[in-house]
């Protein structure tokens, strides 16, 4: 069967410099560069390789949460229980380690706990589709942290530094320069990026995020995908818990407090908006480093954390506001009026 009119359709995307320039990611790259220029100007200690790697390490453990959070936001959902999942995983890692379980098994237990928490979120979300994921994860957030508190009360559980390889997960440096965690993060990020943009699963995520019903009618297993993503989120909460435990050599029930908002903030600034179906993995990754290095740079000149709070919040609002303002139209209107 061929079209009667014989009309042909262009199948190649035209390369357009203009399009590339108005992309959100381009904008982020520019800010990123400017922040770096600013940082190296205000502190001559900024541009040092070990310093920068130390700086990246301090925000990369949270950045592990942005990977699955990108997926969660992409399909138009939200998970505000990630911080609590990190806490529960970390606490159980500590408890089992101190109960005599070998560290490798304790790590697996932590990951399993994360998976279980995420799975619970997912199961509730797909069995009770009437519920907004925000409500579900608000409930589980309180529940998970509550369980962590029940287990550990006001105590902390520590002594992880006695296991050298575990300590090295966070503190170790390959060749004395590149942190182990950085390498692991880059590997994970590449995998997530490929999945998001080059895989069938990624394409389907965009479909689900853009229109859940249309995705369902197109034969996409929406519940399965949601369950997978929530569980994956749980797994990476476990990963984050492992690195945080390695970082601190101990665990407490209040580990990871507020991580959820940090992770969501990074994704959103990166263009992966909360409405679903939008954004780009690269953008999210740029924003992870942008926020982290901005904070590091300001910290180097000892800007008070209060001011950093204000800058961070204002940056988030402005960044998201700019593309929404539709300034082009504003100018066109003006032009019409003057004409």
């Amino acid at each position: 069967m061929a079209g009667k009119s014989g009309r042909t359709i262009i199948a190649e995307e035209k390369f357009s410099l203009k399009k590339l320039l108005v992309r959100w990611e381009t904008f982020l790259v520019i800010i990123f560069i400017l922040v770096n220029i600013m940082n190296s100007n205000i502190s001559d200690k900024y541009l040092s390789v070990p310093g920068l790697f130390n700086a990246t390490n301090s925000f990369l453990s949270i950045a592990f949460l942005t990977l699955p959070m990108c997926f969660v936001l992409l399909i138009g959902e939200i998970d505000i229980s990630v911080g609590a999942q990190v806490a529960l995983s970390a606490v159980l890692l500590g408890i089992s380690f101190n109960a005599g379980v070998p560290m490798w098994l304790a790590v697996i237990i932590a990951l399993a706990v994360g998976v279980l928490c995420g799975f619970l979120n997912g199961i509730i979300a797909i069995k009770f589709t009437e519920l907004n994921p925000m409500i579900i994860t608000l409930g589980t957030q309180i529940l998970f942290r509550g369980i962590a508190e029940m287990i550990l009360k006001d105590q902390s559980t520590g002594g992880f530094t006695s296991v050298k390889w575990f300590s090295n997960l966070y503190w170790g440096k390959i060749g004395g320069v590149v942190p182990v965690m950085f390498v692991i993060f880059v590997i994970c990020a590449v995998i997530f990026g490929v999945v998001m943009h080059k895989s069938t699963f990624g394409r389907r995520m965009y479909a689900v995020g853009s229109n859940k019903l249309a995705a369902k009618y197109s034969g996409i297993n929406v519940p399965g995908m949601r369950l997978t993503i929530y569980t994956l989120t749980g797994l990476f909460c476990g990963v984050c818990a492992v690195f945080a435990s390695s970082q601190m050599g101990s665990a407490r029930p209040n580990v990871g407090a507020g991580y959820e908002l940090d992770a969501i903030g990074m994704c959103v600034l990166g263009g992966v908006l909360t409405d679903g179906g939008k954004g780009n993995f690269i953008g999210a990754m740029i924003s992870v480093f942008l926020l982290g290095l901005l904070k590091y740079g300001l910290g180097l000149v000892n800007v008070s954390s209060n001011i950093m709070l204000v800058v961070k919040g204002a940056l988030l609002i402005f960044a998201v506001m700019i593309p929404h303002l539709n300034l082009g139209r504003f100018f066109k209107k003006k032009a019409v009026k003057t004409a």
Partner: protein, 377 residues
């Protein structure tokens, strides 16, 4: 058109954030400089007076203090005291305040000051163990690390400047409870729920002291945790009062807890029936301290956080200059004679296996002296 506009917006945002960032630095300096406090003033005078060329505490290094969190006046007094001495001795002081009172945020601060290449770090820890790896790394780079106010574990510090001996605080508080209760009755502890060891160490110490037959008629009904949050502390105080209507004394070894408890007792009209003591900031507690039944707290204790900061600063400089090594048994004398025994201190073995320097005995705030001190801190 759009493109241009975007870049303009971008520049505005960035310059705005830069402006905020830059203006922040002097303003934080400014505030600390313009609000000198009474005892500190005398310190600075002493310090600069003695800062001769032969002064073992003279320095041109950079010193960092990391407090528990931003937005708490107690922490601010501590860092002010530290800064005053460092600057008087010729050094540069870096103050880092974590966004929240967590170990994670403190690690970020440690990273920041390590990158800045400071000579010493003084830290009031939010968690005993969690900072060990980060601080060890700092020590590996030749940075001197000490803690004050709330200790990090023995592995990750050279010395701990303790505001008061654990045993001493426990004994003092128990004696206060014994005195206020009239020797017998039910009492309760309202603590913070933090893992910052000091509260728990004091409570453990009090339980130990209680073994003495002198305290046998005192009955501890329980330890309540107010999370160092005002509202939670209020709820917990209410819980104490409903759990045991006959409770006679509440002991709150935390500045937030004691305030909350004082407020509840005042509001409930129980100031005559239930009495309060513990550790509190005089400025926050001024309203509640008094000998009569209209006030709930006959007296309470605390040390001077400014002096704590002062001493910590001298110790930091001492460590860097090699005057102090941090070994047990070592003695040293700081230029400020208002500290300790005319400025001389002995480093002692601490309970956790490390070493510590004890600032002095806790200071009692009574109805007589509260007015004077509440203006200070």
């Amino acid at each position: 058109m759009k493109k241009k506009l975007l870049s303009v917006m971008l520049c505005i945002t960035l310059t705005a954030s830069m402006l905020v960032g830059c203006s922040g630095k002097p303003s934080s300096n400014g505030t600390t400089d313009t609000t000198p406090t009474k005892p500190a003033e005398t310190n600075t005078d002493n310090g600069s007076g003695d800062a001769g060329s032969a002064d073992p505490y003279a320095t041109d290094g950079t010193y960092a203090i990391i407090v528990k969190s931003a937005g708490n006046p107690y922490n601010k007094k501590e860092s002010d005291g530290y800064k005053q001495v460092i600057e008087a001795q010729g050094g540069t002081c870096v103050i880092q305040e974590p966004e929240s009172a967590t170990a994670e945020d403190q690690i970020t601060c440690i990273n920041n000051v390590v990158s800045q290449g400071v000579d010493a770090i003084a830290i009031a820890a939010n968690d005993t163990d969690a900072l060990e790896p980060a601080l060890k790394q700092a020590m590996d780079q030749g940075i001197h690390v000490m803690s004050l106010d709330s200790a990090v574990n023995a592995n990750s510090r050279e010395v701990f400047v303790n505001q008061a001996g654990t045993r001493e605080i426990a004994q003092t508080l128990m004696d206060a409870i014994l005195d206020i209760s009239g020797g017998e009755g039910n009492w309760a502890i309202l603590s913070a729920a933090s893992t910052a060891t000091n509260q728990n160490a004091w409570i453990d110490g009090m339980k130990e002291v209680m073994q003495d037959s002198k305290y046998s008629k005192l009955n501890l009904i329980g330890v309540y945790y107010g999370d160092d949050q005002y509202q939670a502390s209020v709820d917990q105080t209410a819980a104490i009062l409903t759990d045991d209507p006959n409770v006679k004394v509440i002991c709150a070894p935390t500045t937030v807890g004691i305030m909350a408890a004082a407020k509840v007792l005042q509001d409930e009209g129980l100031t005559g029936k239930v009495k309060l003591t513990g550790l509190g900031l005089p400025s926050e507690m001024a309203d509640y301290i008094g000998a009569d039944d209209a006030h709930s707290c006959p007296y309470m204790y605390l040390w001077n956080p400014i002096q704590l900061g002062n001493l910590a600063a001298y110790v930091s400089i001492g460590l860097v200059n090699g005057v102090i090594t941090g070994a047990a048994g070592e003695t040293f004398t700081v230029p400020d004679t208002t500290l300790g025994d005319n400025g001389s201190y002995t480093i002692k073995e601490a309970a956790d296996g490390g070493t510590e320097i004890i600032l002095g005995a806790p200071f009692a705030f009574t109805p007589e002296n509260i007015a004077e001190w509440s203006a200070v801190y």
